[in-house]
Amino acid sequence: MPDWLTQLLGDDLSFGLSYITNGKHLAWYASFRFTIIAALAGALFALFFGLGGAALRQSRFAVLRSIGALYCNIVRGVPDVLFFLFFPLAFEQSVEWLMSTQACSAADLAANTGTWPPCTEANWFLGTSEYLALACVSLGIVYGAFTANVIHGAMQAVPKGQLEAARAFGMHPIQLLWRVHIRQMWIYALPGLSNVWMLLLKATSLLSLLQIADIVLWADRLGAPNYLKQVGLVHPDWRWRYYLVLFLFYILVTYLSERGFAVLRRKLGHGMIRVEG
């Protein structure tokens, strides 16, 4: 730190500044990227699964309709954390089972007594980036079910007159779907989508359960009582301060996204007479 800054701030403040910019803290700040990636990629996947789920629920065939309804209801009837843990494990095991059918010898498979994976060749090691990708997909699946419900409702909310007008212009059903129905649907879906986004945002705090060194894990590490042999106790249990920072961080992000959605709603609702909230 330059001298002039130390003089300007005084000893206590400059010590504090150097403390919160030390290597461990920088690693903590860097770990916010996992949360941001999970939120954004999770939202994209959720939108994808949501559109898929809504399409299934609108389907002409009863089988597909019931698959869509089953997806929406089962996923939402189960805690998100259960699915969040289950999906990566299940995916990993399925891949390892596929690998074991190829890589393991018959003798290995016969000798195996209930351990997993059946042989060492079929072991798939998952690092942080793999877990992050799986976490994004499972967030997408869970909140896709919520999104599907929102989009399904919004598709029904589009005034029938608009669709009839489009049909009267001689639009093909597919043209009608893409040019009128889906475009008009967004404004009705937006309040619900903003709710789902808030839920998803809060679920990104669960990343540490998948061994990702995210903001929560770092807060726990940094706040734990710090004892060094040379200096003695650097600080006692400070975890509550770090969690308080995270608490405020999430409130801030919620506030910012609320503002963002308000702007989006004003822009999308331009020219609409009144939009039900």
Partner: protein, 251 residues
């Protein structure tokens, strides 16, 4: 009967029965208190006093805007750091730091914010003509509340509140990820994880745990649906709209 018990799915259902009681306990301990707090907060939010209204609004915003996972960690660490200075000298440390006390405490703080938002929304949608009618009858403020505002508020809020209760039940899964697990006091997620580590059968154990959550959620929907029917019994001309399992409201 022995062949039935030896089926892996049946033995899992038996093993997870006791852990499911912990989830039920967490929900059952926090719902009644959370309900009372939520009503209080909603009334405070609707208060004419700007300070009370703002404070209550800030509380609701903070607890709805942050994850329960962080709230659990935060309150646990706050309680821990107060341990040596406050709880130990007072002799309360066995209670305050116990997950069976701290878990419901944080859940109450969380659910009362979500509930308050629901009840506040309902409070604002109470038909004002009915309040005017009550005033025309010469009712006092408390009488108005007792006869008009309260029943309308509960009726309007009930479907959304049902949803919140189910969400709260799902949120109990998070408690033992943050608070210490004492001996065999394990909830569904802990026990399913333990069973998984024994034989690596993720599909079976987590599905059975999910089945428990699903079944108990359905029971909650059913019971709250019965209460809703009773609340709406005067609307006999139309068949009362039962609460669907796929509710529209989001948390």
């Amino acid at each position: 009967m022995d062949w039935l018990v030896s089926l892996p799915i049946v033995s899992d259902i038996v093993t997870l029965a006791r852990p499911s009681l912990f989830n039920i306990y967490f929900a059952a301990a926090s719902i009644p208190i959370g309900f009372v707090f939520a009503i209080g907060l909603a009334l405070a939010r609707a208060s004419n006093n700007p300070i009370i209204s703002r404070l209550s609004g800030a509380y609701i915003y903070a607890f709805r805007g942050s994850p329960l996972f962080i709230q659990l960690f935060m309150f646990y660490s706050i309680m821990l750091s107060l341990n040596l200075s406050v709880w130990k000298p007072a002799g309360w440390d066995w209670l305050v730091l116990h997950p069976l006390f701290l878990g419901p405490l944080v859940l109450v703080l969380n659910t009362s914010a979500y509930g308050a938002e629901i009840f506040y929304g309902a409070l604002r949608n109470v038909p004002h003509q009915e309040i005017e009618a009550a005033r025309a009858f010469g009712m006092g403020r408390f009488q108005q509340f007792r006869a008009v505002v309260w029943p309308n508020m509960i009726r309007l809020a009930w479907p959304a509140y049902t949803n919140e209760v189910v969400f709260l039940f799902h949120a109990t899964a998070l408690i033992y990820f943050t608070l210490p697990v004492i001996n065999e006091q394990k909830d569904l997620m802990n026990k399913a994880g333990e069973l998984f580590e024994r034989d690596y059968n993720a599909f079976l154990h987590f599905s059975v745990a999910a089945l428990y959550y699903l079944a108990i959620s359905l029971v909650i929907f059913f019971c709250f649906g019965l209460i809703y029917k009773r609340l709406m019994r005067h609307m006999s001309d139309k068949t009362p709209r039962s609460i669907r399992f796929a509710p529209k409201y989001l948390r």
